[in-house]
Symmetry: C2
Subunit: 307 residues, 2 copies
């Protein structure tokens, strides 16, 4: 009989109505993912990581990009709360907006934060030590012998930008080198602005021998700026990026960069969120998870000229 029903269902191409199931189960099986328009490769890694964990689960992924969270966190909050989600994955910089977290918590919407920088004890967090990552790449440049080093910061509203800079500072101070603040420029993670900042740095009478860019897009822009000025990389200028994105490999020379396991972190965040939603929270799943960065030394960094 049970079988007969099943057969009839199959014959009629019957599929249960998800809305009715959701109504009774009190959940939508929808997980949201918010992020802010950074580079395409970052976004895709993030999505694929989360999707990888969701595969073979009933959950579906709703993408909710949102720009300028910093200037209007409550708007994003409303959007998320109205979206009928079971839970939400928060990438930077949304994961660092206390007001947003307040709103979400008030509505008891479970959430996981991907590489937050502040309030590390709120919600589920998948962490990454940006300071240590910044330290590593700066230490690499210093160990090559560079002393006059330029910096291209990312968008200041991203905590990652501040964290990485903090790491640079630590490495400089350990090496007994003073940071020349006039060689620190502010970009916004995009190629075009990165190019402008790089030009400014390279046009200075006493040009830096190395540039630390806070992501690969801006690092590639710095290489382009150098090329346009006839400055060869890495002979006359070393350039290091951040992210190990696709362009870091297709650029020439290939970029020295820091690999951030974005995909794995997104997978983890989804994993923890699901554990919470399904109540399968083992002790392991409830712990904060830390991921480590990896310095990839490629062809864009070398000893400074004359050394």
């Amino acid at each position: 009989m049970r079988r007969k029903v099943k057969e009839a269902a199959a014959a009629l191409d019957y599929h249960p109505n998800l809305a009715a199931q959701s109504l009774i189960a009190r959940r939508s099986f929808l997980i949201g993912l918010t992020y802010e328009r950074p580079s395409p490769s970052y976004v895709v890694e993030l999505q694929n990581g989360a999707l990888g964990r969701l595969e073979n689960e009933r959950y579906r992924l709703v993408v909710l990009p949102f720009n300028h969270v910093a200037s209007r966190p409550e708007e994003l909050g409303k959007l998320l709360l109205r979206a009928g989600l079971d839970g939400v994955l928060l990438a930077p910089p949304a994961c660092d907006q206390p007001l947003l977290l307040d709103m979400i918590e008030r509505q008891k919407l479970p959430y996981a934060r991907i590489t937050p920088h502040s309030d590390l004890d709120r919600g589920l967090v998948v962490a990454m030590d940006e300071v240590a990552a910044g330290h590593t790449v700066a230490a690499h440049i210093l160990s090559l012998g560079h002393r006059r080093i330029g910096v291209i910061l990312g968008d200041p509203s991203h905590a990652a930008s501040r964290g990485r800079m903090e790491g640079y500072r630590q490495a400089f101070s350990e090496a007994g080198v003073r940071i020349d603040e006039s060689l620190v420029g502010t970009g916004d993670f995009t190629h075009d602005v990165g190019y402008q900042v790089a030009r400014t740095l390279l046009d200075r009478p006493l040009r830096p021998t190395a540039i630390l860019a806070q992501n690969d897009d801006m690092a590639v822009a710095a290489i382009a700026a150098a090329r346009d000025l006839g400055v060869s990389v890495p002979d006359q200028l070393s350039v290091a990026g951040f992210d190990n994105s696709e362009v870091s490999r297709t650029a020439w020379p290939q970029l020295t960069t820091v690999h951030q396991p974005v995909r794995e972190m997104a997978w983890d965040a989804a994993d923890r969120l699901i554990a919470e939603l399904d109540g399968t929270g083992s002790a392991a799943a409830l712990q904060r998870r830390d991921h480590v960065h990896e310095l990839l030394v490629r062809a864009s960094t070398a000893a400074p000229p004359g050394l």
Copy 2:
């Protein structure tokens, strides 16, 4: 009274239950987007286009990437039908799978196809003439004087790949030039495979003076291969890509490429789907929409050596 209720609702942070609304409205306000893992920039453009149209609508976007549709179309079909969607946006190559379309139609799931290549009369279609685009770029190379021209095809399961090649053929035949089939290599739209194919082409005793790559990632790979062999671009070798992706601009030399208005097409597809779902289908919305490509001549193409 009406006001009092509203106030109370606001005070309690009340939000209507979407599942219940869906149940009664007989729709989920969920739109799916399927695509196959091509380059990150393409995926992001596609998503942003669709999301742009969905903004300020009740609809939410569920992303459903799926690899190797060609080998298992019924699996994707099941996935889509179980996802509780109101409609679905089909990017290549899924939009060209007749079996998939059959399944979707049988369940009466509305769908819009983004740049399909076959059965242009099925479903809502947002078209793009790949043949004409291929023709344009090949004609550009031929007009520069090139005669020994290599080709790096994309994934053969993508109809776009075949369409573009057809365009190359037309341009060659109009110019009275025979295609040297031994200079036609098959890639898969990825940088790495593109590099291998480019190496094979450039290692031939009689090296081509130009390479037509079917996307930018492979074109950049061809430039890398040339550089590794000491062949300078564009002096000794011209390279043209396809897509006007981010890398085409950050590459050096900047790539001559074909701009495909992916974002606009995705916007349009979402627009038409919504028109169908909401029954606001004006005459304009029901028409097939055609988008045109644009050749962007940049620094990677020039006259062949000795001309």
